[in-house]
């Protein structure tokens, strides 16, 4: 064994390495000091009625369901649960609320579609955001569509990756989005819209309406 007991460095070299390690750690702390505060909390799990008749996609300018594409066929998967009329706001104002809360926009995960009444076509999600980059263990996840001059949001809480994600809750995420927009100064309408798009595990068919207060 060498004189330095296998250390492989001089005193100077050792202290220099410690310095580099300390500097690197400090830089990392500075980069990661910001963390997204979850808007979760306060959700009453909705009652899912099995026999509710959902409204038709053409009844509202909003989207009603999220669709999965398979070839030229589209099948509905999970319900839209938050909508914004965009009378006093732009679609970008909506996405900025999530952006400002520190949510990630990439990677987007699965490609999903919604029915756009204005063009009579299925439309790929215009925007998506998540609380964490990969959702290893539970996260809020939203997809947004701009349809017929309005914004529709599908919000859910993902299960942990096992390794795919599935839906842990719609209601928690719906309440979470409300919390986020209220904090950003938007108004959640006291009366929700009844889309009748009840879905397990906990979406009761009532869709939150959020608008930006006129300044």
């Amino acid at each position: 064994m060498s004189e330095d007991g296998g250390l492989g460095t001089s005193r100077r070299g050792f202290l220099a390495r410690l310095g580099v390690g300390g500097l690197g750690t400090t830089t990392g702390v500075a980069l990661l000091w910001d963390r997204p505060a979850s808007p979760a909390g306060g959700a009453d799990s909705g009652t899912v009625s099995a026999d509710t008749e959902p409204i038709d996609e053409s009844d509202e300018p909003y989207a009603v369901w999220q669709y999965r594409r398979s070839g030229d066929d589209f099948s509905s998967t999970i319900p839209i649960n938050v909508v914004c009329p965009l009378e006093t706001a732009s679609f970008e104002d909506v996405t900025d609320v999530f952006r400002d809360a520190g949510w990630y926009t990439r990677p987007e995960e699965y490609a999903r579609y919604a029915w756009n009444r204005g063009t009579n076509q299925y439309r790929l999600q215009d925007w998506a955001a998540t609380e964490t980059q990969f959702g290893k263990i539970g996260r809020h996840h939203i997809r947004c569509w701009e349809t017929d001059g309005t914004a529709s949001i599908q919000a859910h809480v993902d299960t942990r990756a096992a390794p795919g994600h599935s839906i842990k809750s719609h209601a928690d995420a719906q309440r979470g989005v409300e919390n986020l927009f209220e904090k950003a100064g938007w108004q959640v309408e006291p009366d929700a819209l009844d889309f009748g798009n009840d879905s397990g595990p906990d979406h009761d068919g009532l869709v939150s309406v959020i608008r930006k207060e006129e300044s």
């Binding site: 064994m1 004189e3 330095d4 007991g5 296998g6 250390l7 492989g8 460095t9 005193r11 050792f14 390495r17 410690l18 580099v20 390690g21 750690t25 990392g28 702390v29 980069l31 990661l32 000091w33 910001d34 963390r35 997204p36 505060a37 979850s38 808007p39 979760a40 909390g41 594409r69 398979s70 070839g71 520190g102 990630y104 926009t105 990439r106 990677p107 987007e108 995960e109 699965y110 490609a111 076509q121 439309r123 790929l124 609380e131 964490t132 980059q133 990969f134 959702g135 290893k136 263990i137 539970g138 996260r139 809020h140 942990r160 990756a161 390794p163 795919g164 994600h165 928690d172 979470g176």
Partner: protein, 207 residues
């Protein structure tokens, strides 16, 4: 120890150059898959639609990232003992996203990756110190670098974990608990490594 000039025999990377090549190849493969997922609109969008196969890519990326966090660092450390690469494996997906989009924050995914880096790096160090010392911990050139490289993410992981407690939401509780367990493991292993380093320094009259 086999010596060659390929660069793959550096002690931070691993013991067996062939396994080191596999480890490096894995990191690059994961980073490429993550980047393809990040830039999928630019790469694959056509006529307002994404090919349905891209959903498969999304699934595969989540699978790879889970593997890179919970399995690969420890596995790599045990079979090939390179702390530098064991630290890189869980961090690479996050670095790939942050490096190309600028989006990074101290969230629970990042905390898990940092703690997993700490566990992978410290197990790699202990494994190599035991091998070289024939069953007792023995320092080797590169061990100090490995210890510093492993301590940094371990400390960072703990800082992020502490920052997250109370704000991460109930759905992240399991993630925080796993981060805590991994951090304890990493700290315990690193204590063994650092005490050996400090012991050696005091013996050699270095300070």
């Amino acid at each position: 120890m086999p010596q060659n000039n390929s660069g793959l025999s550096h002690p931070l990377l691993g013991v067996n150059p062939r396994l080191t090549a596999v480890g490096l190849g894995y990191v690059i493969f994961v980073a490429v898959c993550v980047l393809a997922s990040v830039w999928r609109r630019e790469l694959f969008l056509s006529g307002g639609r994404l090919p349905t196969a891209i959903d498969g890519l999304s699934w595969f990326v989540i699978f790879l990232v889970s593997l890179s966090t919970f399995v690969a660092p420890i596995l790599y450390a045990l079979v090939n003992g390179g702390p530098g690469l064991a630290v890189t494996i869980p961090l690479a997906p996050h670095l790939a996203v942050a490096g190309t989009t600028g989006e990074i924050a101290g969230d629970v995914d990042v905390a898990l990756a940092l703690a997993a880096a700490g566990v992978g790096g410290s197990i790699a160090l202990l494994r190599e110190m035991l091998r070289r010392g024939d069953g007792s911990l023995s320092l080797y050139p590169g061990a100090v670098d490995g210890a510093i490289l492993t301590t940094a993410p371990t400390v960072l992981g703990i800082v992020v974990l502490v920052r997250l407690v109370g704000v991460a939401g109930p759905h992240a509780t399991t993630g925080l608990q796993i981060t805590a367990v991994l951090s304890v493991l990493a700290v315990a292993s690193l204590l063994a490594v650092w005490s050996q380093i400090l012991l050696t320094i005091s013996r050699s009259g270095f300070c």
